[in-house]
Amino acid sequence: MAPVTRRSPTTLASIIALAVVAWVLGSLQPVRAAPAAPTAAECAQVLERWAVDPKAVVKSLVDQCKTMAAAGESFAPTPALPAVPPMDLAALDPCSTGSAANNVLCWGPWAGLSPAGGGAAPTVAASELRLPDERPELADQLTPGVDPVGPLVSCAPGTPCGFATVVAGPTSSDAPAATEFARIDLAADGKSFVIRRLDGSVIASVPAMGTVFLPRNDGYDGLRATGRTDDEQSRLIARVVRGDDGEIILAADIWGHGSRTGGPVNSGYFAWGVATSQAGLDALNAGNVSATFTGPMSVDNATTATMTLNFGSNPNWSGTWVNPAYAFSAGGTVTGADLISTPGQFSANVVAGESLVQGALVGEAGNRGVAHLIDVTLAGQGLVRDVGLLREVAPAGPQP
């Protein structure tokens, strides 16, 4: 029998210690970094291959990609876009060039543009019409060769034509932003008037107001017209020019109408006349007449306006408005009896894209005037809205 080899206790302990150390050292192996998440492109390939042959890819990888897909990752490849050449804007849109101000297609459309002979009244405020892109549906009305008119319908020669401001309340004045424009029709005897607002509504005075004409020392007569029904009251206080038959042919200043029983009350200022007849216009154009008109505005009578109308083959006008607080100039075209500003002819301090001068030549030789409105935004001053009746000064050219 072979002898049994016995280890000593010390040796056995050493062996056990070494085994423990080896085990510990083995457990302290550096942690392997978890494999990096596959990229979207890699997942696309993995999933594509898995769809064909599920055994061809590692399941854990497939699971990772599925988890990423569930989280919203997109693995669809994005095709490259072909390069887009820069657009030739000038060819597509003439209003994108520097000559836009001189292009009749570029500074309309105006809601007041309507066929000759009248049409439906505009339905938005003047300020909303001055940005062409806000009313693209009206662009069809704008055709080359037709000069647009302002937001208020044009004044046909020989017909009554007036411009008014409208404010809420009885005082005729309010902040410019709270002041709207409208047309005013005045009876020739001064006994009634109608305000036609841009929204299509109408303010009609009480019928048959009582009138009294008063003396003035400035070439005008004064008119006080008042009327009252059970619950409505109207009034007019105006400078007027009357013809030989006593009919009013030019008028300006204060109007008011409203309820005495808690209903709406409106008021404002106005400038009114009978648009110069076609015969009168023809004579002015045939004679290449240049006529100058001047006078105070009505809302702020510290503003003095002067306008020169040049008749002939290409009628045009220019003007200045001077106030102790500001001054600006403008110019534009004359079409029939209508005057309308051209954006490119405003002075530099006018925000042309937000400004407008519209008016009409009123009266006949010897008693001509210009009734007009200004709706301008001035740098450093803000919005100015006013109406004014200007009288012809000493003629500068041959008179028809």
Binding site: S172, G222, R224, T226, R235, I237, G256, S267
Partner: protein
Amino acid sequence: MKRFIARTALLLLTLPAAVGTAQASLIVPTEGSVYLQPSSPTVGTGASFTVAVVLNATGVGNVPGAYDGQFVIDFDPIELRFDAFALAPGVSFFSGPATGSAGSRQTITIGFIDSTGANVIDGTGTGSIGRFSFTALATPGTIATIGIADADDLFGSFVSNAPTYQPFYPAFQGAQVGVIPVPAAGLLLASALGGLGLRRRRGATASA
């Protein structure tokens, strides 16, 4: 006698500031004023006096300047009798004087214009529109009030008329006039004369 003097003195000392009984207006005064200015704060029963209508255009803008307007005054016809209204130089009527009534009070409505370049409002900013003449009918001790207001209580009728018509909204202030029986000096004179007469009679009786 002493009671009369004391009552008159008390009336004079306690006469309150004039406050017009103006009609309610929808317009809030913003600038200037129109007020009544009696020729005297007191008047004897049966005596005549005048009340000026003054326009103060301070703050309105045109000073000097021309102004138009229409106002209405009211008073108790038992206390006062309206005799006449005289316009100031350069001022014209465009309406009235028209009499009417508002309850128990009598009204007089006047529309005036200053369109001749006379400029009612002078460089001081004030000017007289005209002058009412009244006769006091009230019993002594009465305080007669005269109210004034814009004749147009919706839109207001007052305007500055040059270079264009522009409305303005003045404050309106009426007036009060105290009615006293007889002037105190006259009473004193009467009592003094009466005392002299009594003394003479006593002296004559004594010598007789």
